[in-house]
């Protein structure tokens, strides 16, 4: 019952958000619409890590690997097909296959959290170097030249499914991105409320106990990891659609760190937290970029340290705990309440 009311709250919130997304182009100028579009694409990426880390307990430090692979898969196939619909599908498929392979070796190897974090981070570093070195005529897939450090410019953006001649306007692309964010959010909410979601939370809480109850933690973790890869890849397609451009910096260490920071400050174990963290940080980084005195890395690092030391749970769970203790329902929420956090 409580899950139902939680879902009802999420649905109402989503309908309001969807209405705001559709109304936004009438009230906000084009530049800001473009800004909001990339924020929303990044928020989808934040959700992917928020899901696998906060619910699956998988510490992935290199979520940019899947984001970047999705972005490159979209760019290469959109150039070759001239139609964005199969390109979006490939942008999801390629990272899923990669996540399956990588996840198999890591999760079935039974390595610890620390190793998993280090290996996923290493993957993103190596992909960065690899894609960086693909300059020249030799490295091309079909029509698409990978372009090394310069990346791939002039990628076709989203078109109407089945009608490659009809390219979406920036306002329509914003609506697609915004609605996609809401749909991914709702999809994850439903997934978490399902029996699959309950099992992965059980595994996060106590892997041995879940295994003794008859669930193989490895396959559930692998599927969770692959779902995270799929969402991150989709976010990559949304990102390329925004800029019509992709370059190896998409794999860079700075972005990997930022995704982690979004989830940390927003709060692990919630879905809305990472989205809030992402929007806050994106806005802040844009503001920092406008001035010269302080380096963005410096601020981001300081924020990460402060949150790890002082607010380890993140904003959303801390606020909820505060609200709950005000209502006299106890100091902290029990573990299962993390599942049912209201938006």
């Amino acid at each position: 019952m409580q899950i139902l009311t939680g879902m009802k709250g999420a649905l109402i919130g989503s309908v309001i958000a969807a209405a705001a997304i559709i109304a936004a182009p009438f009230y906000v100028d084009l530049f800001q619409i473009m800004q909001l579009t990339v924020f929303a694409a990044m928020a989808v990426l934040a959700l992917s890590l928020g899901f696998i880390w906060g619910y699956g307990g998988i510490l992935c430090f290199g979520q940019t690997s899947f984001f970047g692979l999705g972005a490159y898969a979209y760019a290469v196939s959109a150039i070759n097909f001239g139609d964005s619909t199969p390109a979006i599908l490939l942008a999801i498929l390629v990272p899923v296959v990669f996540a399956a392979l990588l996840g198999y070796f890591m999760i079935y190897g039974g390595i610890s959290d620390v190793y998993l974090g280090v290996i996923t981070l290493t993957v993103s570093l190596i992909l960065f170097n690899l894609v960086n070195s693909t300059a020249g005529d030799f490295y091309k897939i079909g029509e698409a030249r990978l372009g090394g450090f310069n990346g791939i410019p002039g990628v076709p953006t989203f078109n109407l499914p089945g009608n490659p001649g009809y390219i979406l306007t920036p306002e329509q692309a914003w609506m697609v991105t915004g609605i996609a964010l809401i749909l991914v959010y709702l999809g994850l909410r439903v997934l978490i409320a399902s029996s699959f979601g309950r099992i992965i939370i059980a595994i996060r809480e106590n892997e041995t106990r879940a295994a003794l109850l008859g669930y193989d933690p490895r396959i559930y973790k692998l599927i969770t990891f692959m779902i995270g890869g799929a969402i991150a890849g989709f976010a990559g397609a949304l990102y390329v659609n925004w800029g019509a451009f992709v370059s190896p910096t998409i794999f860079a260490l700075g972005l990997s760190a930022q995704i982690i920071i979004w989830v940390i400050i927003g709060g692990r174990g919630t879905l809305i937290g990472p989205v809030i963290g992402c929007l806050l940080l994106q806005w802040m980084v844009t503001e920092i970029g406008a001035q010269q005195a302080l380096d963005a890395n410096f601020i981001l690092g300081a924020i990460l340290i402060i949150f790890v030391l002082l607010v380890p749970k993140g904003i959303a769970p801390t606020l909820r705990d505060l609200a709950l203790s005000r209502l006299g329902r106890g100091e902290t929420a029990p573990p299962e309440a993390r599942v049912k956090v209201k938006t």
Partner: protein, 288 residues
């Protein structure tokens, strides 16, 4: 024949540089079971300390071998006191905090020195192998790697400090009941690990472009080496450096340096599937 000698030298230098760039990370990981994600920045600080000392007129050998490790070692002790000590027992949070620290150091260095490449010239000349030219600095790096490993082994095996360190590594609670303060040992370990990273950074300064973001170029290999080696302090590092350095250099010789790195990584991931606790966890269990 000449080519074989040059490739052989490449393999040796690959192994030696893996040992050097991973040693600080491996010592901290072996003793404290935490991965220092600011490792690359410790290397970078060592390189900067060397470059700045040399341009201030200090002898390059003194700058590389003394100033760089002492400076970064001090940074390590300060970091341990101000940051790491609050996070004992929280492995994941320690990684996150050191990641934040790495961003802070990169940001601060960029603000102070700018995002431009500085450097010092290599202090040793070259030598000729048939038609090929090689730098004398390569065998020097190999000697330094051997020296560093011998020093770590000597300290850990034959001194009282090493005995205490090994005791804490094996069982911190038991060591504490016997009157050792593990926190003090961890502080010294972190400082020593940082000093080794600083030494590696100083040694790399003549052969690398010194920029605030240079750490990222080395950490991938250092992480792979330490994860592949496992939590053993010395044998894990040596065996993983030997295996991965060999694979990396041969693959780089046959393809390109970047593909060499990719093949190195694939080898490491397969290795992790077969030996989840690393080479040392399987073959050198309980050794240094």
């Amino acid at each position: 024949m000449d080519l074989a000698i040059i490739v052989g030298l490449d393999v040796i230098s690959g192994i030696a540089s893996l040992v050097l760039i991973s040693a600080g990370l491996a010592v901290i990981f072996g003793m404290m079971k935490i991965i220092n994600l600011a490792h690359g920045e410790f290397l970078m600080l060592g390189a900067y300390a060397t470059v700045l000392s040399v341009s201030a007129g200090v002898n390059i050998w003194f700058a590389m071998l003394v100033i760089a490790p002492v400076f970064v070692g001090l940074v390590g002790v300060i970091v341990e006191r101000c940051l790491i000590q609050f996070l004992y027992g929280r492995l994941v949070d320690t990684m996150l905090a050191t990641w934040g620290l790495s961003l802070v150091i990169v940001g601060a260095t960029t603000m102070i020195f700018g995002n431009t490449i500085v450097g010092v010239s290599s202090p040793l000349g070259g030598f000729q192998v048939g038609a090929y030219q090689s730098s004398l600095y390569t065998p020097f790096l190999a000697l330094m790697a051997v020296f560093l490993m011998t020093a770590v082994f000597g300290v850990m095996r034959y001194t009282r400090a090493g005995l205490i360190a090994r005791a804490v590594m094996q069982n911190p609670e038991m060591a504490a009941t016997l009157g050792v303060n593990p926190a003090r040992v961890y502080m010294a370990t972190f400082g020593a690990g940082a000093a080794m990273s600083g030494l590696a950074g100083g040694l790399l300064a003549p052969v690398a472009g010194v920029v605030p973001t240079m750490g990222a170029a080395y950490i991938a290999k250092a992480f792979i080496t330490v994860v592949g080696g496992g939590t053993s302090l010395l044998w894990g590092l040596i065996s993983a450096s030997g295996l991965f350095g060999f694979i990396n250099q041969i693959a780089a010789f046959l393809t390109t340096p970047v593909f060499g790195e990719v093949i190195l990584f694939i080898a490491a991931v397969v290795l992790i599937r077969l030996l989840p606790t690393g080479i040392a966890g399987r073959f050198f269990k309980g050794r240094l």
